[in-house]
Symmetry: C2
Subunit: 395 residues, 2 copies
């Protein structure tokens, strides 16, 4: 396969992450916790061209460890593309020949948008644990502000998997007049006790690392070991048991027989250690704490009254998607969301896809899944066009 | 309920852990790794009275974190009983009015039997990582030696849950003439890639703890933090998602609202932290490494030839039991074991029990499960009696 983006017709090609600062003047961002935050840097990327009336905007929300780089390459020599490159590009489900796609690093992140590792202008030092706790609602609030700043007041669709799916759902609840459709993929209306438990262990692994130093590790060694353990554990929950079995089974790593020592014997151990170690070096541990906490807190439908209130004004078309081997957020979670939406007579479709790849399936190319996204996006756009026949804004 | 064991008719009452030293003279114990070990201390407990012909012996095998104290109390004031007290005692499934029940701390353990925390007689210091790697086969080999030392050359039954089930299976494979029946409960013929992955993360959490100090922590601070993280994670795999939901759900711990801080918000977090912290203080981290490694290595049926060879002489009656919400070793693992045993025309029964408690179900009282164990044990004993009608050895 030709890795040169200039010669890959399905690629958005070379892209640059853009940066802006919001809430520099005027009111700061009011957070769900009651705290106020500003100024706030936001890193984002865009792909495709915006219509004159901004009717073709698709907002992509990334998951726990993602970033603004959703498609294409930053440099011609990059061996890796953006995290959803299989879905964003010319002729792809989020077709950049027709749509203007935008993805921003989430609030609290560590890849260009303000988070615990950012410099607190009040002190000139990283916020560390002085960064206020944030929610999924806060993340979406910042995205909304970014779009307004770009002159976008309504998006055709918001799409995301896992935590990105929570954000897509939060969008239709909080800004019902600003979004026509939402793709909620491999997600859940709330974390279960088991999900919270896994997050709690991850946070414990990080905060117990002596290098954590109450979050003030930016000058010294970072709590890479604790973060790597957290990631190794989380990684198990991203893959299906079947997928792990098929990929690794009980295969030994670079050896014929057991080591009979405390060494890496099995290929699956070696793989996980590599995943953990790589992540521990590149990601910010404080961000991991904040984002897992935001996921724990997410619960838009805690009781019938709140549910009814949150859904009252919602008129977006929703498409809920799940994968049959996902055990982090299994299909029953998606079905629960669909049940709630149907009970309140919302416009919702649901599809479960077959995949051996567990939770990670939402990131991986699959023809049926791609086709379903494309169909949903096209329908949304056609409906939008039918409602506004007087305008000439064919993308 | 009356906690005084003297007044609890279902309790074995006050018990004392006994200690002996094996392999003091003569040949040391030959391990599967090729290493030799001796002398070896063994801690064990016995309940009930042995027949004159030792025809009523039941061997109980404990799991990863268990010990020799399977039933009764060490002191009248003990609030906790032995780990399988619901199953061992007068009138209980392992009926101590009729059977002589014995349980020993496993080789490599940290509760009386030689393991990494024991003093190496060669150096006068704890073995630490100089303790040889061990296997399930080695654990069983030591149990066999203990029984021989006690004058017991055949047991009526070997029973165990989880790793204890692996040991019960290993017994019938390695000593086919020495065991009439085996109860293999909530167990598996081998760890899956996912099981190995969880063990690998646990070991990483321990060995990355700076207090681990290459295993030489017996003089200084212990790697309690790493061990507690390992235990927290493992604990999630012991409980079912449903059980966690029913017990904790999204209930907050001692608060009305979210903390909006990096504090413990949810009851399930609080519970797990307590479990981890308690375990981190009482258990030996090196033992945790060694025992998880022994489980990883367990694989008596890796290919058809080895399977046939291992099963050739087996004539014990086996009862395989699983629990429908166990996801650590789910029922499909037990069914796989049953399939292998049936293919080789072995005498095997299987039952899946309904329980909300996941893997931990094998430890918890349940009437149907208790009844099935009792029935199996009684049948074994009656069969044994029928085969030896000339002896008067009714227990």
């Amino acid at each position: 396969m030709n890795q040169d983006p200039a010669h890959d017709p399905g690629s958005v090609g070379l892209v640059t992450t853009q940066a802006i600062t919001l809430f520099e003047q005027g009111e700061p961002l009011r957070l769900d916790s009651g705290a106020a935050l500003g100024p706030i840097n936001v890193a984002y990327e865009t792909y495709g061209k915006r219509n004159s009336d901004s009717s073709n905007v698709i907002l992509i929300c990334h998951a726990l460890s993602g970033n603004a780089h959703a498609a294409g390459r930053h440099h011609a020599a990059d061996t890796k593309t953006g995290w959803w490159d299989g879905y964003i590009g010319p002729g792809k489900p989020f077709d950049t020949d027709r749509f203007f796609v935008i993805c921003s690093n989430n609030l609290g992140g560590c890849d260009g948008t303000s988070g615990p590792s950012s410099i607190d202008p009040k002190t000139g030092k990283p916020y560390a644990l002085d960064f206020p706790l944030i929610t999924i609602g806060d993340m979406v609030r910042l995205q909304r502000e970014l779009l307004k700043h770009l002159g976008i007041h309504k998006v055709l669709a918001v799409a995301g998997g896992s935590m990105g799916g929570m954000m897509a759902l939060q969008w239709v609840l909080d800004y019902p007049d600003s979004v026509s459709g939402a793709l909620v993929i491999a997600s859940t209306p709330r974390l279960s006790a088991q999900n919270i438990a896994f997050n709690a262990v991850a946070r414990q692994a990080i905060t117990q690392d002596p290098d954590f130093n109450h979050g003030n590790y930016y000058q010294g060694p970072k709590p890479e070991r604790g973060l790597s353990v957290a990631r190794m554990m989380a990684h198990i929950t991203y893959l299906s048991e079947k997928g792990l079995h098929e990929k690794f089974g009980r295969r030994l790593q670079n050896r014929e027989n057991f080591s009979f020592a405390l060494e890496t014997d099995f290929a699956v151990e070696s793989y996980l250690k590599h995943q953990g170690s790589t992540f521990g070096k590149k990601f910010d541990a404080n961000t991991y704490l904040y984002i897992t906490k935001a996921m724990d807190y997410f619960d838009p439908f805690p009781d019938p009254e709140t549910t009814a209130r949150h859904l009252k004004s919602v008129n977006a078309r929703l498409f809920v998607m799940s994968f049959d081997t996902d055990w982090r957020f299994d299909s029953s979670r998606s079905k629960e969301l669909v049940r709630i939406l149907n009970l309140h007579q919302k416009n919702v479709s649901y599809q479960e896809f077959h995949s051996p790849h567990g939770h990670d399936s939402f990131l991986l190319p699959d023809h049926e899944y791609q086709l379903s996204i494309a169909t949903f996006i096209n329908r949304l756009y056609n409906e939008h066009m039918r409602r506004q026949p007087q305008k000439d804004s064919h993308p």
